[in-house]
């Protein structure tokens, strides 16, 4: 219970900081809507829905990257991460709190982006939406860990995509597969498996990322 209370407090803190600073969410919203508008005009007339689903995933992955790039900025200011690491609470709670907050931002951006996608491009069925949700969990789980690693580097803006994009490939495959394949459930299983494995790995390894 104490662990969950710590996670809840850390997530609340991130939401509160964002509510006041408004650094991340407006940028994510603006980006994802702009990308969809550009794609709308870039796709030639008569292009099939499959191409549109692919572009949706490009938009989702890069919007998530935008959020992840800013995820640890409040902790970098004033060296707060050191303060969190020194606290006797379980350090993985820091990662889980950050993952949940980033997921909340991504879901909020998608609450605008997905209706816009349906309006401009193609319909999304329940399987495709489940694919989006599962991929969101995976990219936020892995991405929060990678963003913490990148945050310690001076070239974090370059490093973060290099770390996250290769790991996001299975999520893109699963997400697009869930949207276009007649056997979408199989891709949902792949995404759920990915989430489970990588969430546990990220949870277990976070302590080693933030300590020397």
């Amino acid at each position: 219970m104490t662990y969950l209370a710590d996670v809840a407090a850390l997530t609340r803190k991130d939401l509160r900081v964002e509510l006041r600073a408004r650094d991340t969410l407006p940028a994510m919203l603006l980006f994802v809507v702009s990308v969809l508008v550009v794609f709308h005009f870039a796709l030639p007339e008569g292009t099939g829905d499959d191409a549109a689903y692919g572009l949706l995933w490009v938009a989702i992955v890069f919007t998530a990257l935008l959020g992840l790039a800013r995820a640890w900025v409040p902790e970098q200011e004033h060296g707060v991460l050191d303060g969190l690491v020194l606290a006797p609470s379980d350090r993985s709670a820091i990662w889980l709190g950050k993952t949940l907050a980033t997921l909340a931002f991504l879901l909020t951006a998608q609450a605008v982006a997905l209706p816009a996608f349906v309006l401009f491009f193609a319909p999304l069925d329940a399987t495709a939406l489940a694919g989006v949700l599962l991929a969101d969990i995976g990219i936020c789980a892995v991405g929060s860990l990678m963003a913490a690693m990148a945050a310690a580097s001076r070239s974090r803006e370059v490093l973060l995509p290099l770390l996250v994009l290769p790991l996001a490939i299975p999520l893109v495959v699963g997400g697009v597969g869930a949207a276009i394949s007649p056997d979408g459930q199989r891709y949902l299983l792949l995404l759920a498996l990915y989430d489970g494995v990588f969430a546990v790995l990220s949870w277990a390894s976070f302590e080693y990322v933030v300590t020397e």
Partner: protein, 194 residues
């Protein structure tokens, strides 16, 4: 109690600490001095566990819950208020009655009236006072302070001196400073880094 033998810390090929020996007994008050770049901050980071020594042995008789560390940076969120910061850290440090304890410290360091203002609106001195509140929030057994007087005005510095006097003897204290005369009467151990 802190005991270190031949403590060395390297960042790549650069040696920041070279063969440092320390013995600070429980309840001791150690003052770490040395010119800029001599490794005072690194020594404190190694003791507190934020940096791993490259060589040598280190024994610190306190776990994370019993250590209070004032760093160069204040380690508080800019977009939270003083109360929100202390509430968060109080929870993470398992401080019982954390709101009362936070209120008491804010009052003691002259921040009570600014308790609901965001740290981003604070002056450097006010932020340093808040950092001191955060450091002492969980009533730590081992207190490590890196240049604690920096950015404090005369009133703030006097408040800190009184706090240090109260800590001396009852807590193990390590202070890195450029102004050892200020702590002269309290110091029981001197650590000079070259």
């Amino acid at each position: 109690m802190i005991r270190a033998r031949g403590l060395e810390k390297r960042y790549g090929r650069r040696r920041v600490l070279a063969g440092v020996d320390i013995a600070v007994p429980s309840g001791g008050f150690a003052v770490v001095t040395g010119p800029n770049g001599s490794g005072k901050t690194t020594l404190l980071r190694v003791i507190v566990g934020l940096a791993a020594p490259s060589r040598g042995s280190l024994e610190v008789d306190a776990d994370r819950a019993q250590v209070g560390y004032l760093a160069h940076e204040p380690l508080v969120y800019r977009e939270l208020t003083a109360l929100e910061n202390l509430d968060l850290f109080g929870r993470l440090y398992r401080v019982t009655q954390r709101r009362e304890r936070a209120g008491m410290l804010l009052e003691r360091f002259g921040l009570w009236d600014a308790r609901n203002e965001r740290v981003s609106t604070y002056s450097r001195g006010m932020t340093q006072r808040l950092a001191l509140c955060r450091t002492l929030l969980h009533d730590p057994e081992l207190v490590l302070l890196d240049e604690p007087h920096s950015a404090l005005d005369a009133e703030g510095a006097e408040l800190l001196d009184r706090e240090l006097e109260a800590l001396a003897g009852s807590r193990t204290v390590v202070v890195a400073t450029h102004d050892p005369q200020r702590l002269g009467s309290l110091a029981s151990v001197g650590i000079a880094l070259a």
